[in-house]
Symmetry: C2
Subunit: 411 residues, 2 copies
């Protein structure tokens, strides 16, 4: 591609083009950070107006039943299930990702009695690693968290391993792990697999049951556009559900929460994985946003994601060839998620300069510029314009100004 007009021509024939109008995007912004916080949909804004003014404001306590608040973890879970190859009664949405990881890892240790080891790869997202560390430390004895390089996972799977915990798409490089292959290898060793779908759900087709996965968790606020800190979802394969006695045993996981019995009796099935009262406002926004995504074809989303990625990489490598950007993501489509990372020694300063021009990506220490591609609202012309801005910044070198020299924490 050599002209902006060519990008516009791709937009003209994009089968997903109409979805952009469903989002409330700021003017003059090219948003390449939907992998960190998805933008506001009109549907979520309208739904929130209703939940706030009518359901909470007018309906008050009665809205728990009348507006269906009580069943939102399940109704939203059933929607998410469609995106990740799960059955409708295998997914619930509630609590944060770290809390859900804790629930699932402790469940895995129960489901594989006698095995005491959790295995993960050292490229996994830190909170996954921290939760495993906290759990094994709490349980003590011979519980162990075994952290190895991604390529050493198969060798680490022995008869002591209760569960392999992997994030399908690496949050830094965008590397896509092979869910089918790793699940098979874990099962061959007698272990379960917990898949973290934070950077997969809504970005590419996921087939948990097709892969035979046991447990999964994912995040609502990235590609699913659920809103800032939207609750997380968790998946437990049907065959395991009734064998779990939840570590965090709360009243919403009880067989009869409103019987107010003194003794805990877990609900049948996935419901037992619930514990606390859900944050209704945050979960309602998520519920509305996912309806928009379910109107699209996930295959088309993946297809466009691949094209956006390829175009971005191609333009950076041709138009910015002399500026020292090193591709830090797998080049092959089959090996990556929906983001690209470029390494550059001045990555932090360059990202700040991009953001000042309205091209919003993010930076991950020590040197990665990270750009996420969310096909429902991103256009090919946005990719052209983003690389145009990058090229201009590098050419004029304003990013070298001293004000960017101070490295500080970024989100």
């Amino acid at each position: 591609m050599t002209t902006r007009q060519q990008a516009v021509a791709l937009d003209d024939k994009d089968p997903l083009a109409s979805f952009r109008a469903r989002f409330l995007l700021p003017d003059d912004v090219i948003y390449l950070d939907g992998n960190s916080l998805g933008p506001l949909t009109k549907a979520a804004k309208e739904r929130l107006q209703r939940v706030i003014g009518e359901e909470w404001g007018q309906g008050l306590i009665q809205s728990w039943n009348a507006a269906g608040w009580h069943v939102m973890p399940q109704t939203l879970g059933a929607k998410i299930a469609k995106l990740i190859g799960a059955k409708s009664d295998e997914v619930v949405c509630a609590d944060g990702t770290s809390v859900n990881l804790f629930k699932l890892l402790s469940a895995a240790l129960q489901l594989r009695p006698g095995r005491r080891v959790i295995v993960s790869d050292d490229g996994n997202f830190p909170t996954d690693l921290y939760v495993a560390q906290g759990l094994t430390k709490m349980l003590g004895g011979d519980h162990e968290f075994r952290l190895v390089g991604a390529d050493d996972i198969p060798a680490a799977l022995d008869q002591t391993v209760a569960v392999l915990m992997m994030t399908e798409v690496d949050y830094r490089s965008g590397r896509l792990h092979d869910m089918v292959d790793l699940t098979k290898k874990a099962h061959a060793a007698g272990a379960l697999v917990l898949w973290d779908l934070c950077h997969s759900a809504g970005a590419l087709p996921v087939d948990l049951n097709g892969a035979g996965a046991d447990l999964a968790v994912g995040c609502g606020y990235k590609y699913l556009n659920g809103g800032p800190g939207a609750p997380s979802f968790l998946f437990v394969a049907e065959r395991h559900q009734n064998h779990i006695h939840p570590a965090i045993a709360g009243w919403h996981g009880h067989a009869e929460p409103f019987a107010f019995e003194p003794g805990y009796r877990p609900a049948d099935g996935i419901d037992r994985m619930l514990c606390s009262t859900i944050p209704v406002l945050s979960i309602a926004a998520f519920d509305a946003a996912i309806d928009v995504m379910l109107e699209a074809d996930i295959g088309q989303i993946r297809d466009k994601s691949i094209r956006l990625f390829d175009l971005f990489v191609n333009l950076v490598e041709t138009r910015c060839a002399e500026h020292g950007f090193q591709l830090a993501s797998p080049r092959a489509a089959a090996e990556r998620g929906s983001q690209v990372s470029f390494a550059h020694a001045d990555g932090y300063a360059i990202m700040q300069a991009l953001i000042e021009r309205g091209v919003i990506g993010d930076f991950r220490a020590p040197n990665l510029l990270r750009f996420g591609f969310a096909p429902l609202y991103l256009r090919y012309q946005d990719i052209w314009d983003a690389v145009d801005a990058l090229n201009d910044i590098m050419a004029t070198e304003t990013w070298r100004q001293e004000k960017y020299a101070v490295r500080k924490a970024v989100t």
Copy 2:
């Protein structure tokens, strides 16, 4: 009191009267269920508009820093601290009450090594009991959850007890436990105390540090008007904070969350009790609502709560004397919270009839009609009108109609 005019006269000289205008209450409703879900404040509605449209919609990922989302658990915690006799760095707000109970109970077991017993009273709210059951079951060995009658608590506190867990105000009867006395007795036995403030915070003065309390948890969606399923808060006395290695070790409790280190290093102080990304929309509503409450004097709130309770009981016992309502709450102000419960064999049907007339309380099995008094928006005339409706229902006996005979789950 014998006339409605007398009630109106009390409203005219009520020092808290102006606060009612800060709430968006439905017409034709007398809301006596603020102890279950507090109503919408204008402040929360306005704040949510801004968070949705501007901070999420326009600011996107940058709002984590620019709009202060990242520090909301702490800034909101510091506000709550003022209501419960805590220091500003002893409280954070995040996650649900059940999850926070799990964090605190597991912390208590760490803080009292060698002790393996959790004690609570059998009138405690079920989720408190369930969480303790789940935790002790998970830890196994000689860990024990010891459930006794409230009056048998002192006798149950022996050298094996790590922590006494009490809810200050009983959710059914409204009985107020003596925080100072029970804390002293637990400490004399070498145990810690965890106070559940779900039915206290915002309803009566609480002085955690005055009582020497160790740990506490509370709910945002009742008297604090934080919105449906608003996140919970937790308190850890400063002296204990740095001795806790969090059971749920998540990235937001790390010393440097955005350094993305593979190993968990707990943050200093209360911050280590955080784990997941917070549900921003739900926490923002809570934050706005508590600002309204902090404008009021908690002593005046308690004083009016006592008067509303006394008026309600007096009117029920005089005007509805022949209808068989039995007071199921302590009569003495010093022994109760901000709700009253009456036992009646037809309690469920009567409550349904009240709700149809716009008088909203709730029902707790097997036979309790429960009415909560939230002094910031309730008027003395509302109490008159509520009892008037109750009396009318009992006189006309429409509540005996068959349609109310079917008992079903209520919130």
